[in-house]
């Protein structure tokens, strides 16, 4: 790896992104390498007989600074601290092992350094950048921890070597190994944590995208579809109202209503029936439910009767709106279906009319409930259905 400047293009020391003087960055740009590689190389060479220091100083002197208008951006002190710490550790290790004076002892450092460079080069640039920014940020915020960790590593290494001379005291050696591992873990923890955080961030992002896709699919399947239908039926106000109304209800359910199984509870079933009859007859049905309970056979009969009452109101009353009120009490369930339409005289209904007599009153009585119809011509109709809860 040569650091000699080539003739083309001229080597300069960039100001932006420099750690010390921009030497490594400039040389890296020249060699089309990641500046991190050269910075690590400099740090490594400095440890071995101070070679890197001399090389850096020489390049600093001979390389012109990049021309920048005004004041250049500030140095990245976080990175500076990171390299400083790295250097301290290596120097400490080198001093202890005697590796810094060359010879056999310097081989592990060289091998380790090359391995690190290979790993660094293999990681894809985006991820490397994230690691780097994450690590630098971590170093900046948790420098105390980093320094303590580095010190522990140094102490551990020294201690281990001191102990290895006396095999009888292997236990001490193990203790020191534990200290070393602890130190390494402490250094590595922020990096690992940032990796985990990164993974979590990606996961939440994916979930959010899935939700967005679901909303988009829903809007497309229902709302856009209905809007198209409304445009096609613009000439028919009744149909337009019906479409808008049913879409509104559907969207409202999707947004506000708890996800209920429509056939499991009374309130859900009342809402479903009202929605179906509203669609079928084009008259708005306002539903208010108080309380809720599981459906039973008796309550199913009550629901059939309520549906019949809604159908009657929608078909015959000419009321602009129908109110349905269902209340679940401790011992009984009551449903009111009310319209403000033209009403009728109950006694005038012929015997063979199935709607009121059979489908409503008869059905309720057969199942042990009761039905009461209140109506007067011009004053609307209200059907009250009561059923005991079999508990």
């Amino acid at each position: 790896m040569s650091h000699a400047p080539e003739a083309y293009p001229r080597l300069v020391r960039p100001v932006k992104g420099r750690v010390i003087a921009g030497v490594a960055q400039g040389a890296a740009a020249q060699l089309r390498l990641d500046p991190v590689v050269l910075r690590l190389a400099f740090v490594l060479l400095t440890v071995i007989d101070g070679l890197g220091f001399v090389a850096y100083a020489a390049l600093w002197m001979f390389t012109p600074k990049e021309q920048v208008k005004g004041r250049g951006p500030a140095r990245d002190w976080g990175q500076f601290a990171a390299y400083g710490v790295l250097w301290l550790v290596l120097a400490g290790f080198g001093w202890v092992t005697g590796a810094s004076s060359g010879g056999f002892g310097s081989w592990p450092i060289a091998v380790g350094g090359i391995g690190a460079l290979i790993l660094w080069q293999q990681a894809d640039p985006g991820r490397r950048q994230r690691w780097m920014t994450g690590a630098v940020k971590q170093v900046r915020t948790t420098w105390v921890r980093t320094i303590i960790g580095a010190l522990l590593v140094a102490v551990g290494a020294v201690g281990f070597l001191a102990a290895s001379g006396e095999l009888a005291k292997a236990r001490t050696g193990l203790v020191f190994t534990a200290v070393v591992v602890g130190g390494i873990l402490m250094i590595a923890a922020p990096y690992l944590a940032s990796l985990v955080k990164e993974l979590q961030r990606e996961r939440t992002e994916r979930i959010r995208q899935e939700e967005r896709a679901e909303v988009a699919a829903h809007v497309h399947d229902s709302v856009l579809h209905t809007l198209t239908l409304i445009q096609r039926n613009a000439h028919d106000p009744r149909e337009v109202t019906r479409l808008a109304r049913s879409q509104e209800r559907e969207l409202r359910n999707w947004l506000y209503q708890p996800k209920q199984d429509a056939d499991a509870t009374l309130a859900a079933a009342v809402r479903r029936i009202a929605a179906e009859e509203e669609d079928a007859h084009g008259v708005p049905i306002e539903v208010v439910c108080v309380g809720d309970c599981e459906l039973t056979e008796g309550l199913s009969a009550l629901l059939h009767a309520a549906r019949q009452a809604m159908v009657n109101a929608a078909k015959y009353s000419e009321s602009p709106v129908i109110s349905v009120y269902a209340e679940v009490e401790a011992d009984e369930v009551t449903v009111f279906v009310r319209d403000r339409g033209k009403g009728f005289v109950l006694d005038d209904i012929p015997e063979d009319r199935m709607g009121i007599r059979q489908s409503i009153i008869g059905r309720m009585e057969r199942h042990g409930g009761s039905a009461r119809v209140r109506t007067e011509p011009g004053d609307g109709t209200e059907v009250m259905l009561t059923m005991k809860r079999d508990t």
């Binding site: 708890p258 208010v288 108080v290 009120y325 209340e327 401790a330 403000r340």
Partner: protein, 212 residues
């Protein structure tokens, strides 16, 4: 008959002009506002009799307007108007100090009635709001903390039940053989309980609804 001066607060321009066109002759719209800031300012300047307040708006929504205006000691009356029938919205603005809650599907004539009623200091409950209140105050085994505030009287329950069944105040009065004024008194009393009660069920109930 005196005219009621109304300020419309809603972030949809189309809706504001729609309401303006629908309101009866006894209502005079004196201004419009489209967000929390402009609403607070307009209320301070114009001093309307009634504010028609949208629940969902940029900058904190209707509840923020209520907090800032009523918090400053103003006596302006609010009628909440919203497309949402979500329980936490309804209970939220009522407990925030609105004197009534109606949904935007309400007809022009009914809205006019509701505004006049609120301007007279009475409360306006939609059938759905009445249903929510009955649900929230439903009898539980736990004794109420404050019996005066934490439970409804039999009569109040009857009135709410009729509102939930779709009865107008006049029809309720006829049904129960009482005067419309008495109906209004009962509803106002329920409103007061709803606003002042610190009954656990009220908040817990609204929370549970949202979470299910």
């Amino acid at each position: 008959m005196k005219t009621v001066r109304v300020l419309i607060v809603d972030d949809h321009r189309l809706f504001r002009s729609g309401v303006r066109a629908e309101l009866g002759e006894s209502i005079q719209v004196i201004g419009e506002a489209e967000d929390v800031e402009s609403a607070v300012q307009a209320i301070a300047e114009l001093q309307p009799d009634v504010v028609l307040l949208d629940v969902h708006m940029p900058g904190g929504g209707g509840q923020e307007v209520l907090k800032r205006v009523l918090g400053s000691g103003s006596q302006v009356r609010f009628l909440a108007l919203s497309v949402s029938d979500a329980a936490e919205d309804v209970i939220g603005v009522i407990r925030g100090g609105a004197r009534g809650y109606v949904t935007k599907t309400i007809s022009g004539a009914e809205l006019t009635d509701a505004i006049i009623r609120v301007s007279d200091g009475d409360a306006v409950f939609s059938p759905r709001l009445a249903g929510f209140v009955l649900d929230a105050f439903a009898s539980t085994e736990a004794p109420p903390i404050d019996p005066e505030l934490d439970s409804l009287t039999q009569r109040e329950r009857e009135v709410l039940r009729l509102i939930a069944r779709g009865y107008a105040y006049k029809e309720i009065a006829k049904e129960l053989f009482i005067s419309v004024k008495t109906v209004e008194t009962h509803v106002s009393s329920v409103l007061r309980k709803l606003q002042l009660s610190n009954r656990h069920e009220l908040s817990r109930w609204a929370t549970a609804r949202r979470l299910v």
